[in-house]
């Protein structure tokens, strides 16, 4: 583990064995990450014949501009509907999470009230209950509201159980000086005005974090839409892609195209928002 000096470099020496091994390990790790993805991308450009002939998976496609698999995946896989449903769910659950999380954090941090300890304990203990374990009973609750097989079921579930975002808002709101509130209060603002006009706008960085984390986890979630929205026309991108398993069976070129279609938006978001995403996940998971 010989590495060059931390952050500030002094004289550049000849690379030692340690440095070479370090780079080698990084290159191997990168290949392990990229190879399976690259192969799927290559397969998505091949024709059915090329895939089924049983050539190795690592051969290159004959025609690099063969996008017909993407057309098949997009149309026959109902991907447009899936992206629509996912967008609908994303819009409502993210808006809800931001409002609920920031309101909760505001109430807990800025007010003294009876049972405050109890309320905090309720939120705290809830972090310990993993969502997957209670799904059998949660299902009955959703069912009794008549929300089963509607897009509102996942929306409510995503909004209702997101304690991570409450933590992020709480951490952030503590950093906003109380004197800001006091000044507004002297000018006659009530609690709601203070929240709406002062606290909420100041929370922007935290909101960005929550939107990114929530957006990515919601976009990728499989479990909840799979259990709560079995109808074909309610597919999200996860469940729509999962259904490729049936009709496209051994058509790996179509399945690969579908997988690439789902991965590309994530890749674009990642490339454009890299720094925020790292920070977001580092904040989100440790709280």
């Amino acid at each position: 583990m010989t590495i060059t000096a931390p952050t500030r470099q002094r004289t550049r020496r000849r690379p030692g064995l340690g440095t070479v091994l370090t780079y080698l390990s990084l290159i191997v790790a990168s290949l392990v990450v990229l190879l399976p993805l690259a192969v799927v991308f290559l397969t998505s450009l091949k024709s059915y014949g090329e895939v089924s002939e049983g050539q190795g998976a690592l051969t290159l496609p004959h025609d690099w501009l063969n996008f017909s698999n993407y057309v098949t995946a997009f149309n026959d896989g109902h991907m447009l509907m899936a992206f629509g449903n996912t967008a609908f769910i994303l819009l409502f659950s993210i808006t809800g999470t931001v409002l609920i999380g920031s309101m909760t954090a505001y109430a807990i941090d800025r007010f003294d009230f009876r049972f405050k300890k109890l309320v905090m304990a309720l939120f705290l203990i809830a972090t310990l209950v993993p969502g997957v374990t209670t799904q059998v009973a949660t299902f009955q609750v959703i069912n009794s509201f008549g929300l089963f097989d509607t897009r509102w079921a996942p929306i409510l579930l995503y909004m209702g159980t997101d304690i991570v975002s409450i933590y992020i808002f709480l951490q952030f709101i503590r950093g906003i000086p109380v004197s800001v509130d006091e000044a507004a209060r002297l000018d006659g603002a009530n609690a709601f005005t203070i929240y709406r006009k002062i606290i909420f706008p100041l929370l922007k960085p935290a909101i960005a974090t929550v939107v990114i984390i929530k957006g990515i986890t919601t976009y990728n979630d499989f479990y909840i839409p799979f259990l709560y929205m079995p109808s074909e026309n309610l597919g999200t991108i996860s469940t729509a892609l999962f259904r490729f398993k049936g009709p496209f069976g051994a058509h790996w070129e179509t399945i690969s195209a579908g997988a690439v279609l789902v991965i590309v938006p994530t890749l674009l978001v990642f490339l454009f928002l890299q720094r925020y995403i790292y920070n977001g996940f580092a904040q989100g998971a440790t709280k």
Partner: protein, 324 residues
């Protein structure tokens, strides 16, 4: 990060109530007015908390309560009648070894978590120093964590196929394997656990990296002046600095290994001995309509996870107390 909370209201209220005093004397009976103001002030935090608490109770506490209740009944999830059967579901769960055997599968994922944490720790340490293409490597290592689970499932189904990527790569190195990677329980579970390493190492890596970078740089300089080796620096500066994150990762790894669902369900639907506890619970509840038994399973899983969390809190007490 502790802070005395909400010393906000008392100082701010003083001038306000003074103003209210003057106005009150002009308009109405003093008692009534101040009572109303007081009630409003007291209700304010609750108005903010109304919706969050309602959702929290409805989707966390009611299900937990119901689940415990269902676990003592023979309910099938649909019919209106459910009979109280006492601890029958629990005896069934603990006496039918095939129901409990799925926990053995968790061991594969537990081993995978150890590998995953070790790899993440190595690369986080390496990449927290100045290196060429540092950001590129960082991005590549983290990206898998952001990819959709279903897409990952398909990518690796193809990867493990006969004559697929893995076989092709192995044949370059002269190892001509006609191994059916997902064919036998041992190799299928090892393969699936490998996928989980591929997928989740990036998250641990980013967490560790963040923790290492929050260690002040002067510490390294001082250590270097004292002639400390790289290993000594890691041992005495980095390791203690990231201890809280490391202990969090361990607890997430253990509870995560018990609650694996997505990848094995997508790739094998739990066939060839890859069924996990959650897959089995979901099948019992939603395919075989054994809501009672499934609830008992879920209660056992929840109890185990809470127990592990509690033990971890005892062993590694957290310096910071979250939530105020």
């Amino acid at each position: 990060m502790t802070k005395t909370v909400s010393t906000a209201s008392p100082p701010a209220q003083a001038p306000l109530s003074g103003r209210a005093e003057k106005r009150r004397s002009r308009h109405e009976a003093p008692g009534e007015r101040s009572w109303r103001r007081n009630a409003l002030r007291r209700a304010t935090p609750w108005l903010f908390l109304l919706v969050p608490l309602a959702l929290l109770v409805t989707f966390t506490y009611v299900p937990v309560g119901n689940m415990i209740y269902y676990s003592f009944t023979d309910w099938d999830g649909i019919s209106p009648d459910r009979n109280f059967v006492g601890a029958e579901n629990y005896t069934e769960l603990f006496t039918r070894p095939e129901l409990f055997r799925v926990f053995a599968v968790s061991l594969y994922y537990l081993a995978a978590s150890a590998v995953q944490i070790a790899i993440a720790l190595f690369f986080a340490t390496v990449l927290s120093f100045d290196l060429r293409f540092r950001n590129l490597f960082k991005g590549i290592l983290f990206f898998p964590y952001l990819i959709n689970g279903v897409a990952i499932g398909f990518v690796f189904l193809y990867f493990f196929q006969d004559g697929g990527t893995l076989d092709s790569v192995l044949s370059w190195f002269g190892a001509n394997s006609d191994h059916a990677w997902l064919g036998s329980p041992e190799s299928a579970n090892t393969s699936l656990a490998g996928v989980s390493v591929w997928r989740f190492t990036g998250l641990n890596f980013v967490l560790f990296l963040g923790a290492i970078q929050s260690i002040p740089g002067e510490l390294y300089e001082a250590a270097q002046l004292d002639g400390a080796s790289r290993w000594q620096q890691f041992r005495n500066i980095i390791a203690p600095g990231i201890r809280p994150v490391l202990s969090l990762s361990v607890i997430l790894a253990i509870s995560g290994s018990l609650a694996v669902f997505e990848i094995p369900y997508i790739m094998t639907t739990g066939a060839t001995g890859t069924s996990t506890f959650v897959i089995q619970t979901v099948k019992l509840a939603f395919q075989f309509n054994k809501t009672g038994l499934a609830s008992a399973c879920a209660v056992v899983l929840l109890a185990i996870i809470l127990l592990i969390t509690w033990i971890q809190r005892r062993l590694v007490p957290d310096e910071r107390v979250d939530l105020v």
